[in-house]
Subunit: 295 residues, 2 copies
């Protein structure tokens, strides 16, 4: 198994290469739209979700090109959600991955449309016969991702997050919000690897437990970085939740208990992989990375 650093670098390069090919700028009035998509999609981010697709797919010997296409589709959804979340009417962020956000580098209309296009492209990629010869696999991938992206997943969680500025959420409420807002897409990434690998039921159950715990650990780690992190390293504005008066895991648990809870969730995530051998070491290393990262 490659080290986590090597695997992350390889996945990041591969996803950049795929977006570069997918988003070749046409010589017509859509050129700006494609430039905006490229600005957001290429050259940035940890590519955690693609890494999870690859690492899970590798457990079952899935063809690397199939895994790469599914990984690109899921990252396209993630990137679209960042573009829309950064809009002035939403989080109103000027900086993302160390670069101006799309509506700052281009304009708001282009940002709305670039997000919409990446959203549609994700399903275009998954439903394309090149992603898998078996249409049942393709349809399952689409269903997995559409549910994770929609009102019962990411976009629903984002709506709850907007409501959290005005309503008080308790720990159960914050957990549900975060499982939808970030957890759903992390789970969809692991599930995509399992779908491509035709993983048997027991393996899927373990992987789902892994993904759920990892998603929550990731969010608590994000909250810790939001309080303690370096804006230059993060490449985005931090400490906004506190300013907006939103409840988070840390406002409810405190920093020390939050850190404990995060470590416990990572241990639990790894425990869910007990049925897998060494070949799940990349998933284990990814779980550890989630708490140890500095951005």
């Amino acid at each position: 198994m490659p080290t986590l650093d090597a695997a992350m670098a390889e996945v990041a390069a591969e996803i950049d290469r795929r977006f570069d090919a997918l988003l070749a700028v046409p010589d017509d009035a859509r050129a700006t739209l494609y430039q905006a998509m490229r600005h957001a999609a290429i050259g940035g981010g940890k590519r955690l979700r693609p890494l999870l697709v690859y690492a899970t797919a590798d457990l079952f010997g899935v063809d690397r090109d199939c895994a790469g296409r599914a990984a690109t589709a899921i990252e396209a959804i993630h990137v679209y959600s960042l573009i829309h979340d950064d809009l002035p009417a939403m989080d109103n962020d000027d900086l993302r991955r160390g670069k101006p956000t799309v509506h700052k580098a281009f304009d708001e209309a282009t940002a709305v449309l670039a997000g919409d296009c990446l959203h549609a492209l994700a399903f275009d990629i998954l439903a394309d016969p090149r992603t898998h010869a078996d249409p049942a696999i393709r349809a399952e991938l689409v269903l997995d991702l559409a549910r994770a992206a929609g009102p019962s997943g990411m976009a629903g969680g984002q709506m709850m997050d907007l409501a959290a500025e005005h309503a008080r959420f308790d720990l159960d409420g914050v957990t549900r919000l975060q499982q939808m807002k970030t957890g759903a897409l992390i789970s969809a990434a692991v599930e995509a690897g399992a779908i491509l690998g035709r993983a048997p039921a027991a393996a899927r159950t373990g992987l789902r437990g892994y993904a759920r715990d990892l998603g929550l650990a990731f969010q608590i780690a994000d909250d810790l970085l939001d309080i303690e992190g370096d804006e230059a390293l993060a490449g985005k504005k931090l400490r906004k939740d506190g300013e907006a008066g939103k409840e988070t895991f840390l406002s409810l648990l405190g920093v020390d208990r939050g850190r404990e809870q995060c470590a416990m969730l990572v241990a639990q995530a790894i425990e869910h992989l007990h049925g897998f051998g060494d070949d799940a070491d990349l998933l284990r290393a990814t779980a550890r990375y989630v708490v140890e990262r500095d951005h």
Copy 2:
């Protein structure tokens, strides 16, 4: 065959019923999001795209529930595009289908997310086994709709439309823009009926020709209504293209030649159906309606 009026009324009621069931308001912080989706999706519009799905599917004896699910998915994409197009950063419209637009009735953030949710829901519906038992059909429906919605279809056309405020488009350019912006989704509706019906190649070719000509005729008729129509009847602001200095079919052809071109396209659309018998009369009547409608 039912009359066109009866068929349109039946389809409209059925689509309302389906959106009502799909968008039941949850008892949590997403309630406003669902109310916003309901505001946009229920009780309005001509439901032209769902009518085309049903009318095409009926040619091949497709199960009405399957057709209804595909029709709802395509209408969900249409409704999401209207919500986003109406945003202040885009067309900045206050009125749609005689009601306040979503960002006026709610707010901009809710409008962005309601659009995003309807976008994801469309693919959720199509990939669901209830839409068709055969996953190959479901995957083909997803691919058809994702291509029609994305940067080579509706959203790409919308970007061209934004560019048209600054760049001069000739007749070829306007034709391409409109084929993408409105034509692609109209074609996807007809194609969805053909996919569900496993239409043979010759039938598909005829139906594609029908849809392409219908889409262009629809757009010219829309331009005519934009110049000559009644805002109260249209339920939206008219005469905006002229104010924005955009080239349209009518600015390039003039009203009289535009009207002739529209009638010719409808005749051509109907001619493409020559291989079908009486059971395509609803598609023929729909084509005639497109030029004769007053809103």
